[in-house]
Symmetry: C2
Subunit: 275 residues, 2 copies
């Protein structure tokens, strides 16, 4: 494969040379937002949703994106043109910029990177185990780069033979560090938490797809609801719909449930064009 | 002044050329810790305390500092030699390193920067205003680079004509984003919160100094305690002891109180060698 190219403030540069000053507010104060989408057969998936959320996050964090939406799209297209990676993940990162006093927001730096990704189909078929972890993310509805708790808890997940942690707070189920969670309850309703989480784009499209075939809603989920669910799955750009086989002391079965399988097929058609 | 020099993984480099990959975990996931001390007349102040805390933060965040304490001191001395800045602030920053999967901790990068600082003596004499702000920092006792809430709340402070916010949570007083808080109560005791905060090094030395002349203790502080205090001040490496004139609707007087002035003199002697 040829060298990966990134873009910093609109200028293309080899990824391994793409750098930021140690005085950038992302480095000094963890102050940055990002967004992420993938390409399938060379085409961006849910790009408009990703850009919507990117502008939303920037506004909430008082970061002025120094480009308009069309300019961003041109940059993204130029990057995809030069990299020519059919199956990839593309990240837009916006930092607080070089801060003269090391604390105040300055002119943001925009970094775009593209890297090949490989879909883990066997995981989407076989599912994974989660372990609950008490934590409420700060500014949960903004896609900041703050993943301190999630990264720090990785050994905790491993100790519990889990692929990842599932945040809970005050006995409510929230989200995984990088995925949303859904359950199918005894009444065959699809439910996903609706507040104090990052609202994923795959999550949004699953709700849309599901609503044509069943009751699908955002609602607070208790730990009881979770443990008594018929089916559980997580969703993200990378993991699509991945079944959850077990959480804590509860097991849900080794095979994806019927609702999970149906939704996987629907999402598959939209994202990968396979029916 | 000649060009400022920084150090990255033990190699000196011009500060304006000191950079990290956009794939460093500090940039991608806000995963980094740091510590900070100042030099007065060219000599480091409370260096051992700062190194203690730096190693503590690194361990808690599962970051392995690729140097021992003596090696760090050599690096710091070499940097101070080359920069020759009598009155300066020196920051040690340790990141999660270049992460191949964008999430797992890797070999940390160590960045040391030194910059001139100027003491704000008039602020230490005249004091400042604070406004309370409901927030509990995550991992409060670790000096991470997470300042999202503090930076985001700057306009809130300005709207309230305050120099900064003061974090409170569940009606307990905590800390400012970059300072600790002390009160003198009606019984003439010096009190500072003892948990769910970052324990500052200036704070530690104030407690030590104060304990020889009065009751000085760590204890939960309610908003009531704060509002009814005789004197209030904040402490930090940069601000030393800076009196607080007003918080929210409460004013404490325009002049520093007698205890504040006495402690300022004691700290002055230790830090600046002036009596």
């Amino acid at each position: 494969m040829s060298e990966l190219i990134a873009s910093i403030n609109g200028e293309q540069i080899a990824l391994h040379k793409a750098v930021l000053s140690v005085q950038d507010l992302s480095v000094e104060r963890g102050y940055a937002i990002f967004d992420y989408f993938k390409t399938v057969h060379g085409k961006p998936i849910f790009l408009e949703d990703s850009l919507d959320r990117f502008f939303h996050s920037a506004e909430k964090m008082r970061l002025r994106i120094p480009y308009n939406r069309d300019q961003l799209k041109v940059m993204l297209n130029e990057l995809m043109q030069v990299n020519q990676i059919s199956e990839s993940g593309i990240k837009l990162l916006l930092t607080g910029g070089y801060s003269p006093d090391g604390y105040s927001i300055s002119t943001p730096n925009l970094v775009i990177t593209q890297q090949p990704i490989k879909r883990n189909i066997s995981l989407e078929q076989q599912g994974l185990r989660l372990v609950t972890f008490e934590h409420q993310r700060q500014l949960p509805e903004i896609k900041t780069t703050d993943y301190l708790a999630g990264i720090l808890a990785q050994p905790y997940a491993k100790e519990h033979h889990a692929a990842d942690i599932l945040y809970t707070h005050n006995k409510l189920v929230l989200e995984c560090p990088r995925c949303n969670i859904f359950i199918v309850n005894a009444a065959n309703e699809l439910i996903t938490p609706g507040r104090n989480i990052l609202k994923g784009i795959t999550r949004k499209h699953i709700l849309l797809l599901a609503s044509s075939i069943m009751t699908a809603k955002e609602s607070d989920l208790s730990l009881e609801d979770l443990y008594h669910a018929r089916e559980v799955f997580i969703s993200s750009t990378s993991k699509n719909i991945t079944p959850v086989n077990a959480i804590d002391h509860m097991t849900y079965g080794k095979e994806p449930g019927p609702v999970t399988r149906t939704l996987q097929s629907l999402l598959e058609a939209v994202v990968y064009g396979n029916v």
